[in-house]
């Protein structure tokens, strides 16, 4: 069991601390409380990688690679989503009256969150904005190409705009995974790893809710998953913004600073 628990820690941490950690547990033994403490410690080590355990260029390379993967994944997700719309035919649930304003609100909130965290993490904020803009343009181009080539179940007018916007929004939301992960890491650092665990539980609950209550969309079930992801994403980012605001109000320490 100890080997499994240690695998939860990042590689850099294990290279530095694993031997002495094992030696400590050989002397002390492993209680149930220790197991939980180790799991929480592993989450902390992953969410808050220690600079002294990693080379600076490794962190930067990881960030860039992560963003590239996210961008490619976002485009693939968006293409799959588009194919589902064309082939599944179940777009009846999409109510333009509600969805268009709803998506616009999500876009605006997304931009406001970018602006809010610019000071907190300017580099990541700039990257996220670049991805957002780039992916929206890519989404629009893919929509235009597919519209040329397919028949017309493809939609025109307001619905066309809406779908291009939705398409771009899905790309945006997926592309922001890396950015949001960084924000969640900050949030977890402020409020403890429990915040990250709470987010994961919320995500699972939302996904379950979507799957349980949308059985008629079984042919486009994974589209529901993406939509559920968007909702959870929005909730997580709102909670992050609230957490950041709260953290600015928290006292920095109980002990007064020296005069």
């Amino acid at each position: 069991m100890l080997a499994l628990l240690l695998r939860l820690y990042p590689r850099a941490w294990r290279e530095r601390y694993e031997q002495e950690f094992r030696a400590l547990l050989d002397e002390r033994g492993l209680s149930a409380g220790d197991v939980l403490d180790i799991v929480v410690g592993a989450m902390d080590a992953r969410l808050s990688p220690r600079q002294h355990l990693m080379e600076a260029n490794m962190l930067q390379a990881g960030d860039k690679t992560g963003l590239r993967i996210i961008g490619v994944g976002a485009v693939l997700c968006a293409v799959l989503l588009w194919l589902s719309i064309i082939n599944g035919g179940s777009v009846g649930f999409v109510d333009g009256t509600l969805m268009i304003p709803g998506i616009m609100v999500m876009f605006v909130i997304s931009i406001l969150l970018h602006l809010a965290c610019r000071k907190h993490d300017p580099q990541r904020s700039r990257q996220a904005l670049q991805i957002t803009a780039g992916c929206f343009v890519v989404g629009l181009l893919i929509f235009l190409v597919l519209r040329q080539q397919s028949n017309t179940q493809l939609i025109v007018g307001w619905q066309g705009v809406f779908l291009a916007g939705t398409f771009g929004l899905w790309i945006v939301l997926n592309a922001r995974i890396g950015f949001a992960a960084g924000l969640l890491r900050s949030w977890a650092m402020l409020f403890g790893v429990a915040a990250g665990v709470l987010w994961i539980i919320l995500y699972i609950v939302m996904m379950g809710f979507d799957l349980a209550y949308q059985p008629e969309l079984s042919s486009s079930g994974w589209m529901v998953l993406l939509f559920g992801t968007a909702i959870v994403w929005l909730i997580a980012q709102i909670l992050w913004a609230l957490g950041l605001a709260l953290s600015l109000l928290l006292p920095r320490g109980l002990v007064p600073a020296p005069q």
């Binding site: 601390y17 950690f21 030696a23 002390r28 409380g33 929480v40 002294h52 020296p258």
Partner: protein
């Protein structure tokens, strides 16, 4: 640098620094010493979370390994930092006790 920068590891970090004030110790010895002097049982995950942060800030340093175990010791910066934190708490403790005595 402030103890509050350690977030939820602030208390464990202070306990570890205090434990190391009388000489180098490895992880298990620190845990036993902290249990003895403060009645607090640190979990291994918490201990190493605090150790990693202290080492990152160069307040402690690892000594060469002895049979898989790394003893740690305070750095000069760690001694200064510990002294500052303890003096602040000492000042607060004194004020608190005076006020309680005044109310008694």
């Amino acid at each position: 640098m402030n103890l509050a920068d350690f977030g939820r590891f602030a208390d464990p970090a202070l306990l570890i620094l205090t434990s190391l004030a009388d000489g180098p110790k490895h992880g298990y010895a620190m845990m036993e010493d902290i249990q003895r002097l403060a009645g607090v049982r640190l979990g291994p995950g918490t201990l190493y979370g605090a150790l990693a942060r202290l080492e990152e800030r160069a307040l402690i340093e690892a000594l060469p390994a002895e049979d898989r175990r790394h003893p740690y010791q305070l750095t000069p910066a760690g001694r200064v930092f510990l002294r500052e934190q303890l003096e602040r708490w000492h000042q607060l403790t004194g004020i608190g006790l005076e006020r309680l005595a005044g109310q008694a």
